[in-house]
């Protein structure tokens, strides 16, 4: 057995879970600078599933594919620290303004170019949009079956993956032939931590663009150690129809963005004193709201 070739689809997202007070500007728009950029949480669950396959099947390789701005190379490095073998950053102005369909098209064309893969694993959804659309759309673009909301990969045997899915109201175990697209649920095991040895090994891994901005004394290292080069692909590295990319390839358009001006309903403000709370509970009982 020579193992499997796994591609993990991952996204760098603003940390919408920790929006502190300074996350919003006074005008109600996002203060992007105040939000840290993180590895989308369910993509980490996806990475863990890939790494578990690698643990059980020697010879398996795990490649992280991400589309985003230059700084998204951070999550490829982060993945390598945890056990991924390498990564591809797909980055180009041509992809700007992509909705989920245009994103899936770009990722699908990239995967067609990579060609040689067995299993594509993505997180169920990204926390900046919660749409859960990209995984299934990529599967459709490639004409592959999909197994969504996976919590556990139970076995890989005879060219089929058996996986447990978490549904709204229960679980389902399905068997699906390879190649396939899997999306992983947040209820799946957390991703393992960084490995100290891998951290040392890949600390200086960089994309071409990052290299251009770094200290030239070390440039020879990148020729000697191929694993330090994170692949950076642009629109020219994939075959694509321009009309399918970015804004023009996105059927959904944002018509308007509206600020909701909150007008206070004029609440009755009370303190946490015993008197106030007792008064409130009495009011609610009297008005038959409770009791």
């Amino acid at each position: 057995m020579t193992g499997y070739k796994i591609i993990v689809l991952a996204k760098q997202v603003p940390d919408t879970r920790n929006v502190g007070k300074d996350a919003m500007k006074a005008d109600g728009t996002v203060n992007r600078a105040a939000l840290s950029a993180i590895f989308n949480p369910e993509d980490l669950n996806a990475l863990e599933q890939a790494l578990r396959i690698k643990d059980s099947f020697p010879g398996t390789t795990v490649t992280i594919l991400t589309m985003g701005p230059g700084r998204a190379a951070e999550i490829i490095r982060e993945g390598m620290f945890r056990g991924a073998d390498d990564g591809i950053l797909l980055t180009d102005r041509a992809f700007a303004g992509s909705d989920t369909l245009a994103t899936s098209y770009a990722l699908g064309q990239t995967l067609k170019k990579i060609k040689d893969f067995d299993i594509i694993i993505a997180g169920r959804q990204a926390i900046d949009g919660d749409t859960a659309q990209v995984g299934p759309q990529v599967a459709e673009k490639l004409g592959l079956p999909q197994v969504t909301y996976v919590e556990e990969i139970k076995s890989i045997e005879n060219g089929r993956v058996v996986a447990k899915r978490r549904l709204e109201s229960g679980v389902e175990v399905v068997s699906c032939p390879i190649p396939l697209v899997i999306t992983v649920n947040g209820t799946a095991p957390d991703c393992r931590a960084r490995n100290a040895r891998l951290l040392m090994k890949y600390k200086h891994a960089k994309t071409v663009s990052e290299l251009q901005n770094s200290n030239e004394d070390y440039l020879h290292l990148y020729n000697e150690r191929a694993y330090l080069n994170i692949q950076e692909w642009t629109v020219n590295d994939i075959e694509s129809v321009p009309a399918e990319l970015g804004l023009s390839g996105s059927p959904t358009k944002v018509k308007t963005i509206e600020n909701v001006v909150l007008q206070s309903k004029g609440a009755k403000v009370i303190s946490s004193s015993d008197v106030d709370i007792e008064e409130l509970m009495k009011d609610l009982i009297e008005s038959h709201t409770i009791g």
Binding site: T131, V174, S272, L280, M281
Partner: protein
């Protein structure tokens, strides 16, 4: 004019709540656009299912009935919906933002190259002027949803691609039968023409579906906790309060993400929408995605240490202070005064 389509989810011969809600919404949009409301039911042993669908005002119901079509599986359901949409060319297609709808919707939208907007909180018909192209689009579906970043509501449109697809969570729309005697047509599809063998490569080996034990949508009183509860231990206070008041416990996404409780209790745009007679928001800041799921509660009490928290703006009572001090007091004084 081209029709509006609703995909009806079926579990054990029952039509999902969310599908019934969408049929109701679909009917009102169809009436406004003066077009047909059509629906598709895919499954097995569906005899008589039309009695539960047509009364919502469905003009044409397509039924695909075959042993291999139940339970739901991605590929065959996608093939049927895609082919049917290619034939019927609906202008709008609605699906539940459920495990099924979120598995099927994106696949269909990709196959048809049509846009899909997830988790809409409102659907409205309106026009759009593209100034650059000097073109006016009439009667588009405005797919309205909170957007990331502050109090922002985005209106999404699909000017050029059809169908205009949207998913909506359970509870967002209200369900209402239009006319128990509504006259609609039933069309039985010849399933073999819509699916092929390769649609059945995925095998379902095991399946356990349980009716959810929590019934937040039906609860008259909801005690909801947010990240401000501080810990899973503190979150238990909410169960105590809910218990004495006879209510259910809900949560914000931040509380769910922090592991204080399960996702099935999440209230908001990407959770459930509720309209109880009393909603007690404990340590919840009240971001727009959360408010989208609870704003229509008859009465709202907000407990928060921050007097400026947005939740206070939609509240009827604001209690300034610490949840761990206030909730025990509420329990105590309720018990003292309720008899």
């Amino acid at each position: 004019m081209n029709s509006i389509f609703v995909y009806c989810e079926i579990e054990d011969g029952q039509i999902a709540e969310v599908s019934q809600e969408l049929l109701t919404k679909g009917r009102s949009l169809a009436t406004e656009l003066n077009c047909n409301l059509e629906a598709i039911a895919i499954g097995h042993q569906l005899e008589g299912i039309e009695k539960n669908i047509i009364p919502y005002g469905v003009d044409v119901l397509y039924i695909a009935d075959d042993k291999r079509l139940a339970p739901y599986s991605t590929l065959p359901h996608t093939s049927i919906v895609v082919k049917l949409f290619e034939e019927q060319k609906p202008q709008i297609a609605l699906m539940g933002a459920s495990s099924i709808g979120r598995d099927l919707g994106p696949r269909v939208s990709s196959a048809l190259h049509s846009g899909l907007t997830a988790d809409c909180t409102s659907l409205v018909i309106g026009n759009h002027e593209d100034k650059k192209q000097g073109k006016v689009y009439e009667n588009l579906l405005y797919q309205i949803r909170p957007a990331f970043g502050g109090n922002i509501i985005a209106t999404i449109i699909n000017p050029d691609c059809r169908p205009q697809m949207a998913t909506v969570r359970e509870g967002v729309m209200k369900k209402e039968i239009l006319d128990p005697k509504y006259k609609g047509k039933v069309v039985k599809l010849d399933v073999a023409k819509y699916v092929s063998d390769i649609d059945f490569v995925v095998e379902i080996i095991e399946r356990h579906i349980e009716k959810s034990k929590v019934n937040i949508k039906g609860a008259g009183i909801i005690v909801a906790g947010g990240y401000g509860m501080g810990s899973k231990e503190n979150f238990r206070l909410l169960y105590e309060l809910a218990e004495v008041l006879g209510g259910e416990v809900g949560a914000s996404r931040a509380a769910v993400d922090a592991g204080y409780t399960d996702h099935e209790r999440q209230i908001g745009q990407t959770g459930i929408t509720v309209r109880p007679k009393l909603y007690i928001a404990c340590g919840i800041s009240g971001q727009i995605q959360h408010r989208a799921g609870m704003e229509e509660s008859a009465q709202i009490i907000a407990i928060n240490t921050d007097p400026e928290a947005p939740i206070n703006m939609v509240a009827d009572y604001v209690i300034n202070g610490d949840v761990s001090e206030i909730i025990p007091k509420m329990i105590k004084f309720y018990k003292k005064n309720s008899k």
